[in-house]
Amino acid sequence: MSLVHDLATLTIQDAIRGLDIRAFSTVELVAATLARIEVTEPAIHAYVTVLEQQAREEAIAADRLRATERRTRPLLGIPLGVKDLFDVVGTQTLCNAPQRRNVPVATVDAPAVASLRRDGGIVVGKTVTQEYAAGVVSDPARNPWDTDRVPGGSSGGSAAAVAIGSALGALGSDTGGSIRTPAAVTGTVGLKPTYGRLSAKGVYPLAPGLDTVGPIARSVADAVILYLSLADRPAEIDRVPELLAPFGPEGLEGVRIGVLGGFFAENVQPDVLASFAEAVGVLRQLDAEIVETTWDEAAHARGIGALLNRIESGAIHYDHLRVEADLLRPDPRGRFEAGELLPAITYLRARRAREVARDRIATLFRDQRLDLVVAPTVAATAPRADDLRVEFPDGIEGIGTALTRFTMPWNATGQPVISVPSGADRDGMPIGIAFVGRPDDELGISRVAAQYERATQWFQTNASVSVE
């Protein structure tokens, strides 16, 4: 079995181990990643730019430095993708926007990229996003599980690359669900950290009051490894197995989990609902204490997230609506225009309501003594790229609403969320479950999610068949 083929299932943890025991070199790992990009790109279109020469040079250097720097650079030699919204030295940050075709190349890495590089990560390329990150389609990227379907967005290229193994992990950003949605519909793990904790500098903004950077990976452990690097805590990376240890012999002893019904159970595709019920059953088997509950302000929080998203992005794109506006695709253009026309008082009231929504979810956690809550990550699986409507029991919805209804409330409250694969629908398309925690409890929700992942092993399925 070749390393190129192994990349379909290889995790960052596996790769670190393989490099440490010299099962393969960084040069071989990067060469295999580049070969896999070449094989898969004609069908997946996950990348906008591949940094082949630079990646090969960095791989040679990594092998040379391994003996002396491995201990301080835990990601040494790991091939990663970066959403083309982040500044990466020597590349244009195009944002899938024709308006940016002539922007100069970045001369400084975004801090998130710099953190991964500091720890030894190798950027193999920049991944496709929706135009200015305003949407969930990520054209022309396709879903590796069925290339007639979208990979979600706006970090769709990052998720597709990880799902097909043309990157071991990738950077994404999340304003209304743009890490979690693509993760859920491509069978990958997406971690949206607490709002405001990681630097979003050097990342083209969509709505600065909501924008959050985070990793997409193949497993919970890999997502945590990348998160620790992004959070400037690389010394903890070698302790990840310990950080994600079971809570007891069954896995989740003493963990009290709120299972959200109400808003999060309404108008959901039946296979997604069934998968979620099964996942809750697994959590119960792991000895978690399950509390059926509802968050009465979830719909409000979603509305707040939507309004802040639209109004702030309308302001960000003020000039783009006035200079070369015809280069904007119709959907983002309509969003930005509508955002600009919403009243200032609506923005101010939504900001105040955000604080109320935050306080209400805090009250729910406190009153019901919850450690975390779970819900389906999104209400549907990936729709077809040639028909961007989604069928639900209560009717048809546009893709934007369908794939962000359940993600946006958590952007409004700013809580950390990790989405983990939880099964597949009747067509074999991936489904995700969201573990939502208290602010700053990224490691706590990941530790719980890791027990679920171990018990189900959904992450070990892979999407490679559809392009090979």
Binding site: A299, G334, E337, R349, A350, R352
Partner: protein, 77 residues
């Protein structure tokens, strides 16, 4: 409690007025699409007002802080 704002959907003519105030040019063939999006968003205003009913102070406009009031801790790793 103040009366809730009128959330009757905006008309194309009202959209044109808003656009003129904003100095934004919206081509005639795109008015319907923008209007749909704008009215969708205005639909959320009712939810915002519902949540704010009975709440007193306006936001102080400080950057949003997701931190909760000190309570017990989460599932610490």
């Amino acid at each position: 409690m103040p009366e809730s704002r009128d959330q009757t959907p905006l008309t194309p003519e009202e959209l044109r007025v808003l656009a003129r105030v904003s100095g934004l040019t919206i081509a005639e063939e795109r008015v319907d699409a923008v209007l749909t999006e704008l009215n969708n968003q205005l639909g959320f205003v009712t939810l915002v007002e519902e949540l704010l009913a009975g709440e007193d102070a306006e936001s102080d406009l400080a950057p949003f802080d997701p931190t909760w009031p000190a309570t017990d801790e989460g599932v610490t790793a």
